[in-house]
Amino acid sequence: MTAPLLEVRGLRKFFPIAKGLLHRVSGHVRAVDDVSFVVREGEALGLVGESGCGKTTTARCILRAIRPTAGEVLYRMRDDRVVDLAPMSEADLVPLREDIQMIFQDPFGSLNPRMTLFDNVGEPLLVHGMSSRRARLDRVAEMLGLVGLRPEFMHRYPHAFSGGQRQRIGIARALVTGPRLVVADEPVSALDVSVQAQVLNLLLELQSRLRLTFLFVAHDLSVVRHICDRVAVMYVGQLVELATTEAIFRRPRHPYTAALMRAVPVPDPRVAGDDGILPGEVPSPASPPSGCYFHPRCVFAEERCRREAPALREVTQGHFALCHFAAELDLACASHV
């Protein structure tokens, strides 16, 4: 087993709810509420959930785009020293930003339309002290080649490119500083089906070629299953299940994970799909239900689930679930993703 590159411990991010004329804080949205997991060097960890579950907030805390309310984000540097990113100042974070980069969802919004590809992709190099234009030209050309674009395109503007090509440009920009950890937030969800496969293949190829570690934030389970070694499922700010991809799809241990898998429409008309549809809606992280957050929608819920919040426990080796009955429930046939 490889050493953890990143360890998130007890991560919390609360956003204040301001009310009235004086903007008095009347409560908090508990966007991320006590989340812990490890990302091992060289693996792809999928962070899955529906909108509002806190997956993107978790990613933004790791990238330190926002400051966590509590908890630790422990990053192991190239010299094996472990630093906590959570309390660090902006200035102290700058050298670490070379190491931790991000691929964005929207290939249209994430590139500056007034900058050429050279400036878009090359800017991180400038920020990190590569002042020679010649050196930057060479590096950007190399990166464009790596993501399957012609280096001659370097002096064009983003509008000349399709969605899939722009996502390649975004990938080139994320990788130009030679990062070790790449956080990809829904990198293919804005793309057409035929282009999605091309970009997924590119990410897999780059991961093995550059020995990257991926934190892959996504809502599409079939995409996550294809690209990730392990999957973490979030619901209302909490981590509800974490296991290897193989284990979680073979036998999910949390009823929410099973319901999420069943909800994905299968591209086969011979598969009936209307059974076991999850009733109700995702509760607001500002006022979550008592006990287990999932109990109002759970068909297996008992009195205990209403009263007592479950703790994340290891059901089998490396398979964690946040459910009182994780060991007993048989959700094996739930998945057809």
């Binding site: 399709s162 035929s194 294809h226 909800a263 429409p265 299968v266 591209p267 008309p269």
Partner: protein, 346 residues
């Protein structure tokens, strides 16, 4: 109510529809010869990637093409009573088209947030639609009666606490409830044809499963014909009886849903199905991809629009001639030279 149609007559016949947008940079032929039928009580899925013309086809049926775009040729025959009327010939802002739109042919748009007015309650907007269409029919429905009908609709589409939700504004509702309210509005005049344009694209998966199940249930209950537009092959498989696959403004193939997924004929459909990750694909291995990218709309390839990306391209034919939509059997057609008798190239 409406006269019961015989099952053999299509409710809607689209024949060789062409829509172009003359722009400064050139003319975009967004829909370039599309034909399909919609039978009463049946769900037709139109599937394709961005730029394939699926949404423009839908807007053409409703006569909602924004200028400078216009229908350049073709027919959209809608059967009202016994005589089919050609919607293309009706003035888009005329009385006849306005009486059809919403009442006979209703739309569920992709973004319910943008479709509802934020300054009127959702109830008021549905009540207005019911009263307006009743007036056009020469009937009279009072506000109280329309409100009672709206409450019934809310219960039909599974909105709990309907009496409170009817006076809510769209921005006070969750995404799932908002889409349910939109469905209630679309059904308010008991349409015979419902057009659903990516109705679950902006919605989370567990809510999507609920909305899809609801649409199936309502389609069955009201016996409506539905045109279901989506890019998601999983959604199509769950919803449609009959599928039209589009690419760059043309129909690649059409047929019963089982044929499209289990015996696809067109190389585009086959490649598209192969490229989606599923249980059958090996994890963490390269997926089979469709080579190249979607051409820019100003830069349509000559011949078959798919030929530059096609694995089975026939050099003598595909690059020069456009394959016609060739009928192979009842309700099964494909536009590909691999499946039609080839004339010797000139």
């Amino acid at each position: 109510m409406h006269p019961t149609p015989t099952a053999t007559d299509p409710l809607l016949r689209v024949r060789d529809l062409r829509v172009s947008f003359p722009l400064d940079e050139g003319t975009v032929r967004a829909v370039d010869g599309v034909s399909f039928d919609v039978f009463p009580g049946q769900v037709v899925g139109i599937v394709g990637e961005s730029g394939c013309g699926k949404s423009v086809t839908m807007r053409a049926i409703l006569q909602l093409i924004d200028p400078p775009g216009r229908v350049t040729s073709g027919e959209i025959l809608y059967r009202q009573g016994t005589e089919p009327i050609d919607l293309v010939r009706l003035p888009p802002r005329g009385r006849e088209m306005r009486a059809l739109r919403g009442a006979e042919i209703a739309l569920i748009p992709q973004e319910p947030m943008a479709a509802f007015s934020p300054v009127h309650t959702v109830g008021a907007q549905i009540i207005e639609a019911i009263m307006l269409h009743a007036r056009q029919d020469g009937r009279k429905i009072g506000r109280e009666q329309a409100r009672a009908m709206t409450l019934d609709l809310f219960r039909d589409v599974g909105i709990s606490m309907a009496a409170q939700r009817i006076d809510a504004y769209s921005w006070q509702l969750s995404g799932g409830l908002r889409q349910r309210a939109m469905i209630a509005m679309a059904l308010s005049c008991k349409p015979r044809l419902l057009i659903a344009d990516e109705p679950t694209t902006a919605i989370d998966v567990t809510t999507q499963a609920q909305i899809l199940a609801l649409l199936r249930e309502l389609q069955h209950k009201y016996q409506m014909a539905v045109i279901f537009i989506t890019h998601d092959l999983g959604v199509i498989a769950r919803m449609a009886n009959y599928v039209v696959v589009m690419y760059l403004g043309r129909v690649m193939e059409e047929g019963p849903v089982d044929d499209i997924f289990h015996a696809p004929l067109h190389p585009y459909t086959r490649a598209l199905l192969r490229s989606i990750p599923s249980l059958k694909t090996e994890t963490r291995t390269a997926l089979p991809v469709i080579a190249g990218t979607l051409p820019h709309p100003f830069n349509r390839p000559p011949g078959c629009p798919f030929h530059p990306r096609c694995e089975d391209m026939l050099p003598k034919h595909c690059a020069t001639a456009v394959p016609a939509l060739h009928e192979l059997g009842p309700r099964r057609s494909v536009s590909c030279f691999l499946h039609s008798d080839l004339a010797e190239p000139a």
